[in-house]
Each structure stands twice: as C-alpha cells, then as structure tokens.
C-alpha cells in the first residue's frame, strides 16, 4: 500500500519534471527574440481606415515571411502598432516609445505627411530606418540628412505633381489649370511641386485656392478659379473634402476636368461626392481591379482568407495602403536579411544592397540607392476613376 503510493508519487514527480523540462526547452525555442517592426499611424479618426489598410498589408507580408521561417536564422517578425491620431506630436511620442522601449528594427509611418515629417528628424538622430508606405510629402525622404534613414514605397508629391500636369495636358489639353488644395503641409508640399511642374513646362496657373479639411462649401474658392479662367482643376485633399469640392462644382454647374492626387481613393468617394464622383481622375500606385499578376491574385486570396469582411477586390480599401505596405514590408525584410542584423545603420545599408524583388506593385530592380530613397517612380503610377463605386484604372501618365 505504502510502496505503491510511493511509486505513484515518484511517477508524478518525474512526469512533472519532464513537463518543466519540456516547457523550458519549448520556452527556449520561443524566446529566440522576435524582430519587432513598428508602425505609427492613425488608428482612430478620419484616417483610421488608412491605418487599417497599412496594417493589413504589413501583416500579410509578415505572415508570409514568418511562414517561411522568419529572418536572421529563424527569428519571427512581430508587428507593434501605435495610434498617432493624425497628430504630429502624438506621432513623435509614439515613435520614441517604439524606438527606445520596443527597440523596433524598422519603423513604419502612416498616411499623414505632417506626422511623418515630425518623426523623420528623430529616426535620423537615433539611426533607426523609417519606411513610409503612404505619406507622399516630398521632404520625408528628401530631408537633407546624411546619412538619411527615411525610405519610402509610395508616391511622392513632386513626382505626382509632374504626373498630374502631364496627364491633364495629354487628356484635357490643359493650358490654364487652377489649384484647389487642402490648407496643411500636404497641400503646401503640392503647391510647391505643382508650381515647379508648371514652371518647367512654361504654364501659368489660373490661381491657387486653399480650403480647411472640415470646410463644407468650396463654392467661393471655386468661383474665384472659374472667374480666373481655369480650364482644369488640380485637387489635393483627403476623401471627405475632395467630395465637398465635387459637390460644390455640381452646385455651381461647372463642368471642368478634375485631376487629383490620391485622396478620393481613401473611402466611399461615390457615396460622398454623388454621381459626379466619376469625373475625377486620380493617381494610384496599384489597383486590385483588372488583370492581376500571379502575385496580385495570391495577395487577394490571402486577404480574403485572413479578413472575412473582404469579399473581393472592392473591399481591399484603400488599395494603395495595402499594396504599398505589403511591398514595403517585404523590402524591409530583404534589407534586414542583407544587413545580417537589426542594427540600424546596417539595415539602412541593407536597403541599398537589395538587388531585386518581384513585388505586388512591380518588379523592383535596385529599388534604393543612396541618392534615391523612393522605390516607386512616375512610370509606376496608375490613373483611375471611381466607376460604379469601384476604382477602375483608366490610364498611365505617359
């Protein structure tokens, strides 16, 4: 009786020991430190949907990389997100936390140019590579720092502005375009870019008008542009105010071609702007509609499997956020692999060593050099219109 109970206890003890041991070993395997990738973007407020799109694109790429065994000898990637509420001060605070506390290997930014502009000096000082999957402000990557830690897989205002003029001249024979721009650093960045693009082609603008992001009625501004003889409008603004511009045009009964930055793609533009939404031509870096490459089909399938709310290409919105973030994450992983460590300066140089990557947006060939931190150029842009609530590609700049 007593001996059997003793044996029982011993079995119990040894199995407990085995359990502890196996837990230790399993724990050891798990503890191979993850590589943290930071993301500071808007996750609340008007731009929240954009933050979600960036997250989805990044997470999809991270899942793919982790499924293939991770990086640097089996270390898994982990996404760490913080909300910047589209506020530069909050963005910098969040970036500090991710850099100092979470020790992220690469820090991703969101869609708001003012926030990214505020974070860039910090990453250059702390030598942490920054990847912009959305915000298009020219000064984010062309920030004058050396060495420069800011990279981007997205459109850039200066190039977009040249492309907008090209597209307007080619399709609408524009001779006297007017600008209607949001009154913030993004609008300012484009005002400079558009003026430079116009000057290069010897075109004079009919006028430059600004509006506040929460303005409801742009009739007065548009009336001034009309009186000045504008034959085309260059529009820069997020989806809400862009829709108000279209509605104001409708009220005025002014039929004028509108060539826009990519703001309208950020939401339900057709619902917000009404039937005239289809008249706005805007720039995109990628469209999930139309014929897809095998990589494109694979991404759509994976998104539908991972997110039940995605039932087709129309639900992958805003498309540019998902596509840019997906390619940006893969390129960042390649840079870390090239660096052979998560050391900031090594990863920065790792970006230059990427020879090629067959991505979603295009086949990248030496995407980054010390002189060029933007992986996407004017030839990669796609022009699109909202037709029946879908973003339909309609042409290229050239």
């Amino acid at each position: 009786m007593s001996s059997s109970s003793f044996r029982a206890r011993r079995t119990l003890l040894s199995s407990a020991a085995a359990l502890v041991l196996s837990a230790t070993f399993a724990g050891g395997a798990l503890a191979a430190e993850t590589i943290k990738i930071g993301l500071v973007t808007a996750m609340s407020g008007q731009s929240a949907l954009a933050g979600e799109a960036i997250t989805r694109g990044m997470q999809l790429a991270i899942d793919e990389i982790n499924a293939k065994g991770g990086l640097l000898g089996g270390r898994q990637l982990e996404l760490v997100r913080r909300d910047d509420e589209a506020n530069p001060a909050k963005g910098v605070t969040a970036a500090r936390e991710l850099i100092y506390k979470e020790k992220v290997a690469v820090l991703f930014g969101g869609l708001d140019t003012p926030v990214s502009m505020a974070i860039v000096p910090l990453v250059n000082q702390e030598k942490v590579p920054f990847m912009g999957p959305w915000a298009a402000g020219t000064g984010i990557t062309r920030n004058g720092a050396s060495p420069n830690y800011a990279f981007r897989v997205s459109a850039m205002d200066d190039i977009v502005d040249v492309a907008m003029l090209q597209y307007a001249q080619k399709n609408f024979k524009s001779a006297k375009p007017g600008m209607i721009l949001v009154n913030n650093p993004w609008g300012e960045s484009n005002e400079k870019g558009l003026k430079a693009a116009l000057a290069a082609k010897g075109v004079t603008a009919a006028g430059v008008e600004k509006y506040e992001a929460n303005d409801l009625d742009m009739v007065p501004q548009l009336t001034r542009l009309k009186a000045a003889g504008a034959d085309t409008l260059f529009l820069v603004g997020n989806v809400g105010p862009s829709a108000q511009v279209v509605k104001s045009l409708d009220r005025m009964g002014w039929k004028v071609p509108v060539v826009s930055h990519w703001g309208p793609a950020g939401g339900r533009f057709t619902e917000l702007a009404g039937p005239n939404a289809k008249d706005v031509h805007f720039v995109q870096t990628y469209s999930f509609f139309g014929k897809q490459t095998p990589r494109g089909e694979q991404v759509i399938k994976a998104l539908m499997a991972k997110y039940p709310s995605i039932k087709g290409p129309g639900d992958i919105t805003p498309a540019v956020g998902v596509a840019n973030a997906y390619d940006a994450m893969h390129l960042s992983a390649l840079a870390i692999a090239q660096a052979g460590s998560t050391d900031g300066d090594a990863v920065r140089q790792g970006f230059y060593k990427i020879s090629g990557y067959d991505g979603l947006i295009k086949k990248y060939d030496k995407p980054f050099t010390p002189a060029n931190h933007d992986a996407i150029g004017a030839d990669d842009y796609v022009w699109a219109q909202f037709i029946d609530n879908r973003i339909v590609p309609v042409g290229t700049a050239n």
Partner: protein, 292 residues
C-alpha cells in the same frame, strides 16, 4: 451672380452656426452654464439620422424624429453627468466636464458608427436651384436651413414669452432664489434647457448631414465657430445669436469670394475680436445688470 451664390451658401452655413449658438443661449440664459461640446450633439443628430434612415432603412420622418428625441435625451445626460454635479457646488469644472463628455461621445460613435465618413442622401440636395435658367449655386436644402433656423428662433421666443415653462425659464434667469420660493422647479427647468440645447444642435446635424460628410468629428469645428457666434451675437439674446450666425456665415463666404480663402479665418476671427472690443456684450446683447 457669383457673389450671390456665395452669399446664399454663406446664409445656409451661417444659420447652422446660429442654430447651434441658440443651443448655447438657452442653457446660458437659464443657468449660466453651457455644453461646450455642442458640436458633438450636432454630430449625434446626423449620425443617428443616418443610422435609422440608411443603415436600418426607415422612412425619413420617423428616423429624424427619433434622432431628435435621442438628442434631447443626450442633453439631459449632459446636464446630469457633466454640469449639475459641478455647478451645484459652485465649481466651474463643468467647463471641462462637458468637453470631456463630448470627446467620449465622439469616440463611442467612432467605435459603433465606424471610421469612414458617410453621406446621407436627400431629395433636397440633388440638383442645384436655378431661377429663370440662371444657376444660384446652392441646393434647395441650403435655403431651407435659414428658414428652419429663423423659425426655431421665433418659436423659442414665443415659448419664452407665452408658456408657463418659458416664463419659468425667464424667472429663473432673473432671480434664482425668488423663483425657487415661488415654487418653480429650478432643476427641471435647467434640465429642460439642456435638452432643448442638444435638440437645436441635433436639428442642425440633421439638416447638414446631406450636405456634409457624416462622421464622428464632423461637429468639432462647427461647435467652435458656433461658440464664437454666440459670443458675437450676445449670448443672452436668442435673436442676437441667430442673426450673428447668419452674419458670420455670410461674412466668411464674402471674404473667401473676394479676397481668397487664405484670408477667411484671419479676417473673420479678427473681426470677432474687434466687435467684442467695441461692444463687449456682443452685437445684440445688453449689459447684465445685477440688481441688489
């Protein structure tokens, strides 16, 4: 012609400011307190109407009525949670408490309603108006708004002069203690004022929803401008704040149309300061006389 359409649009916008400023006026007149987050009450009206009419597919009339009723209820909540506990202790903390409650509401809406701006269709905002083939540059709804605004200001005036509750309100304004001695339920009068305040903002929200993008932070800037308008008109006068709203809206439109949008905010708000320097009690306000 161009000026006319700008002016008409400014009139519509101005009456929105006026309506919301009317909300500041009713509570200030009775209790010396206001709901600083008036913009959130306006947003609530728009969001609820959108939810009932679009998401649930109800007919417009019941959707609007229920939305407005809920706005009035929200006004009661503001008074009970954010104003009464502080005002009764003589503290000014209701200032920040109402702002805080508004932020809470904005974020609750963000979670429940969603992050995407939406648009409420209205038959009054489909095709622009024209007279004799000349476009006026506004939707019919933009001319309905000032009518509703003025009608509500008139109704408020009539209620204050002709009904028992209105007279009770005026009595509370004049002398709180005497009113209490006369058996006027002061607490209920103040609560009623806050319900009306949120109701006015809700009406503004319902009217503006088809013209604007419906989302959680649509009211923020409006609330701010409406407060400026309330001060400009003289917060103690119902007609004053409504007229100041109309003036402010048209002023904004005129500056934008003539000098350009870069000058709108600078000039319109500078003018507010100038007016207040010259007439400290607002354009239409009277100096408060404390009878001892």
């Amino acid at each position: 012609m161009q000026l006319l359409s700008s002016l008409l649009a400014g009139l519509g916008l101005g009456s929105m400011y006026g309506l919301m400023a009317l909300g500041f006026h009713v509570t200030y007149a009775v209790s010396g307190t206001v709901n600083f987050a008036q913009g959130s009450s306006m947003m609530l009206g728009a969001v609820l109407t959108f939810t009932f009419a679009q998401t649930l597919g109800w007919p417009m009339l019941p959707a609007v009525l229920l939305a407005l009723l809920l706005c009035a209820l929200y006004g009661l909540v503001v008074e009970v949670l954010a104003v009464r506990p502080f005002a009764s202790r003589g503290s000014n903390a209701w200032l920040i408490a109402t702002v805080a409650l508004g932020i809470v509401l904005d974020n609750v809406v963000l979670f429940t309603f969603g992050k995407e701006p939406r648009s409420l269709p209205s038959p009054l905002a489909v095709s622009p108006m024209s007279v004799g083939g000349v476009g006026l540059g506004v939707y019919p709804l933009q001319l309905v708004i000032p009518l509703v605004g003025l009608a509500l200001a008139a109704a408020l005036h009539a209620v204050q002069r002709r009904t028992r509750w209105g007279v009770a309100m005026l009595a509370v304004v004049q002398n709180r203690d005497a009113s209490r001695l006369m058996g006027i339920p002061i607490r209920r009068v103040v609560a009623l004022a806050f319900a009306m305040s949120a109701l006015f903002a809700g009406v503004a929200g319902v009217l503006i929803a088809p013209l604007f993008n419906v989302n959680a932070d649509m009211g923020t800037l409006f609330g701010l401008k409406a407060f400026a308008v309330a001060i400009l008109g003289g917060i103690g006068s119902a007609w004053g704040v409504m007229l100041a709203g109309l003036l402010f809206g048209m002023l904004e439109a005129l500056i934008t149309a003539t000098l350009g949008s870069g000058y709108t905010q600078i000039l319109s708000f500078s003018l507010v300061i100038v007016v207040l320097a010259l007439r400290p009690n607002g354009l239409f306000g009277r100096a408060e006389v404390k009878k001892v």
